[in-house]
């Protein structure tokens, strides 16, 4: 049985004027970590809210842990853990009080499921008498995760759990998710960070309410059409301009300390021609290398196509 199924789920706001989710269909297998990857406003939170029974879909059907999100919402609410996008614990309650409160309203005790949260909780335990509002961003997310896990949910929903969290805490957070996976908990997680996508079993790329691709991170990258080159030069600003005005360029964007460039399908992918062009423009310390595409490259590539089709 699938942990989550979506069948043509559509969600609109303002009486149908704003289309937030457009016929989303995907399954999350039992024990799988599934990532929803997309920028802000792509429709990730809407999907979460439909699945956590907070919003009614306008069309389509969905199940969580085998229960229908509309009819059996009470049963779903008993067996899922949900961590909303923004920090949603009681800021004026201490770490311990928050945890105890959520344990109680889920009809359990901290003691009963302590094993499940132990690894995470030991990190925030030194601050257990501190008010949640006074914790750092990473600590807050760890506490929120503890609170969402305290009743041993079958399916865990994490809506952008690492947004606004420092790089070190982000890595730690994903390590924890990996361990939860071993406990057999199915996880649906969303993130705007493409580097985190690689840590999921499967990912769905979402933009403008539409699911663009559903595959494992490795397969997602393989879908990248053509070749991708990383180009570096002394004057990066001028390089971007020149690359964009180059006749064979399909797309060029800044990625870290290099330009990622792809060429038109029919264009000559022989880099020597490009080298000649750039040298003629006066670029120095030129470096051009073919690189494997990342998820972000693929994402940009397919969303470009979307925009062009519109």
């Amino acid at each position: 049985m699938s942990a989550i199924t979506l069948d043509n789920i559509t969600k609109t706001y303002n009486k149908g004027k704003v289309l937030a989710v457009d016929k989303a269909t995907f399954d999350v297998a039992e024990g799988e970590t599934f990532g929803l990857i997309g920028p802000d406003g792509a429709g990730k939170t809407s999907i979460f809210r439909v699945l956590t029974t907070l919003l009614l879909p306008d069309g389509g059907s969905a199940t969580v842990a085998g229960f229908d999100v509309v009819k059996d919402y009470e049963k779903i609410r008993n067996c899922i853990g949900y961590m909303p996008g923004r920090f949603s614990l009681y800021q004026d309650l201490t770490v311990e009080e928050n945890l105890n409160f959520f344990a109680t309203i889920f009809n359990t005790t901290v003691k009963e499921n302590y094993k499940l949260i132990e690894e995470i909780y030991v990190q925030i335990e030194p601050f257990k008498t501190r008010r949640a509002g006074k914790l750092s961003g990473g600590m807050k997310q760890k506490l929120a995760l503890c609170c969402a896990l305290i009743h041993k949910p079958r399916v865990l929903f994490l809506d952008e759990p690492t947004t606004g969290v420092d790089a070190v805490s982000r890595v730690e957070f994903w390590d924890m998710l990996k361990r939860l996976k071993h406990q057999g908990i199915s996880i649906l997680v969303s993130t705007p960070y493409m580097d985190e996508a690689a840590l999921c079993d499967r990912i769905a790329l979402i933009e403008g309410g539409k699911l663009l691709s559903i595959a494992s991170p490795a397969d997602t990258i393989k879908k990248y059409p053509g070749k991708l080159f990383a180009v570096k030069a002394a004057n990066m600003h001028q390089l971007l301009k020149d690359l964009r005005s180059y006749e064979g360029t399909h797309s060029c964007f800044t990625f870290g300390d290099a330009m990622h460039v792809s060429f038109k399908q029919d264009a000559n992918t022989d880099v020597s021609k490009l080298t000649g062009y750039l040298t003629a423009k006066g670029h120095k310390e030129l470096e051009i290398a073919e690189i494997p595409a990342g998820i972000e490259d693929y994402f940009i590539r397919i969303t470009e196509k979307e925009i062009a089709e519109k």
Partner: protein, 373 residues
């Protein structure tokens, strides 16, 4: 505490109390405002009044009237002008604001007093300012009582002087002496309705409502847990107001305290229901606060008869006042506290208040959102 529901409720109520006691602003609102209001209304409105201009019309001109007039003149409260005015002249002078009160000694005052041991004095007060009117009337009554007591002590004469008090322009004396019931209605409305509305909307605003919804908590449990702390705090406040009224403002509770608390609890529940209703329609704490003030505080001030007599309002406004719960509560408190009446005198108001409360609860149960939108 074995039932899971009770455990949930207990944890939730405890959490609510943490919210209340950890937020200074909330605390100030809950305890500072009521105390400030009682003190403000109590002392600003019923401060002692000195040098009130009054006219004394002495038709008797005998030993008894002269003695009382001397006493009145000696009092720091009055500035006496002696003249024999007719009723029309008195009224003209009052309308002009020249005098606040007229004291009229009839013919044969001392004669009646010494032979019948009983005489009358007519007192006419300008009650357009009800507070001043009652205060200076009571000053005068005290002086007369004083005279009677002296007569008893010195001459062993037991005189009874009956002041026939007539309040002009506002015979029911709506206002100051009745401010305590009004403040009670106002404070309870403020705490119960506004604070409950704000507390619930705060959960929405901070996003914690999302987590509460996605939990096995039953909606009714959320409502009960959210309102219990404010019910308790309100009762505490009520006690404080009553204690202050009795010990600071010398207002005695004439009726049954138990009845007063029972009726107050009913009113508090209706206010809590109103607060819940407001929270359903508000998305921010600010809007909840504004809605409470506009739709609850204002009617409570204007339409309960606390500040302005309902009888003098236009017909449609009187109509609206019938659906304002505080109107009934105000009547009930006045009857129990000031007039010492029992349940038989207020069962109608209680019934209406109970009915309004029931309707509000039904609307609430029906409109509680089990989802975000």
């Amino acid at each position: 505490m074995n039932s899971p529901v009770l455990k949930q409720l207990y944890a939730f109520v405890r959490k609510e109390f943490y919210h209340v006691f950890r937020d200074r602003k909330t605390l100030l609102m809950l305890f500072g405002v009521p105390i400030a209001q009682v003190l403000l209304f109590g002392f600003v409105l019923s401060n002692e009044i000195k040098n009130s201009k009054i006219v004394v019309c002495d038709y008797a001109k005998d030993y008894g009237s002269q003695e009382i007039i001397r006493k009145i003149e000696a009092s720091k409260y009055f500035k006496v002008q002696k003249a024999t005015l007719t009723h029309d002249q008195i009224e003209t002078a009052m309308k002009a604001g020249d005098i606040k009160m007229a004291v009229i000694f009839p013919d044969h005052f001392y004669n009646d007093l010494s032979h019948l041991n009983k005489a009358q004095i007519q007192v006419i007060a300008d009650a357009s300012d009800p507070n001043t009117a009652t205060t200076i009337t009571s000053y005068l009554t005290n002086i007369i009582n004083d005279y009677q007591a002296e007569a008893l002590a010195q001459n062993n004469q037991s005189y009874t002087i009956v002041p026939q008090v007539k309040m002009l322009y506002n015979p029911e004396l709506l206002g100051a002496p009745n401010f305590v019931p009004g403040v009670m209605a106002l404070v309870l409305m403020l705490i119960c309705a506004m604070m409950t509305a704000v507390a619930i909307v705060k959960e929405k605003e901070l996003g914690t409502m999302e987590i509460l919804l996605v939990s096995p908590l039953k909606p009714y449990l959320v409502i009960i847990a959210k309102t219990i702390p404010y019910l308790l705090v309100s009762l505490l406040n009520l006690t404080a107001i009553l204690l202050m009224s009795v010990y600071l403002l010398d207002l005695e509770i004439k009726g049954s305290v138990v009845l007063l608390f029972a009726e107050s609890t009913l009113f508090i529940i209706s206010c809590l229901a109103l607060g819940l209703l407001i929270s359903v329609g508000s998305t921010s704490q600010m809007s909840a606060m504004m809605t409470s003030q506009m739709s609850l505080m204002l009617p409570t001030m204007m339409l309960t008869g606390f500040m302005f007599p309902i009888e003098n309002m236009p017909f449609w406004m009187q109509g609206i006042s019938y659906i304002v719960p505080s109107r009934y509560y105000y009547t009930i408190v006045k009857a129990v506290m000031l007039q010492g009446l029992g349940f038989s005198a207020i069962w109608r108001e209680t019934l209406v208040l109970g009915f309004i409360t029931l309707i509000l609860i039904v609307i609430n149960v029906r409109s509680f959102k089990i989802r975000l939108a």
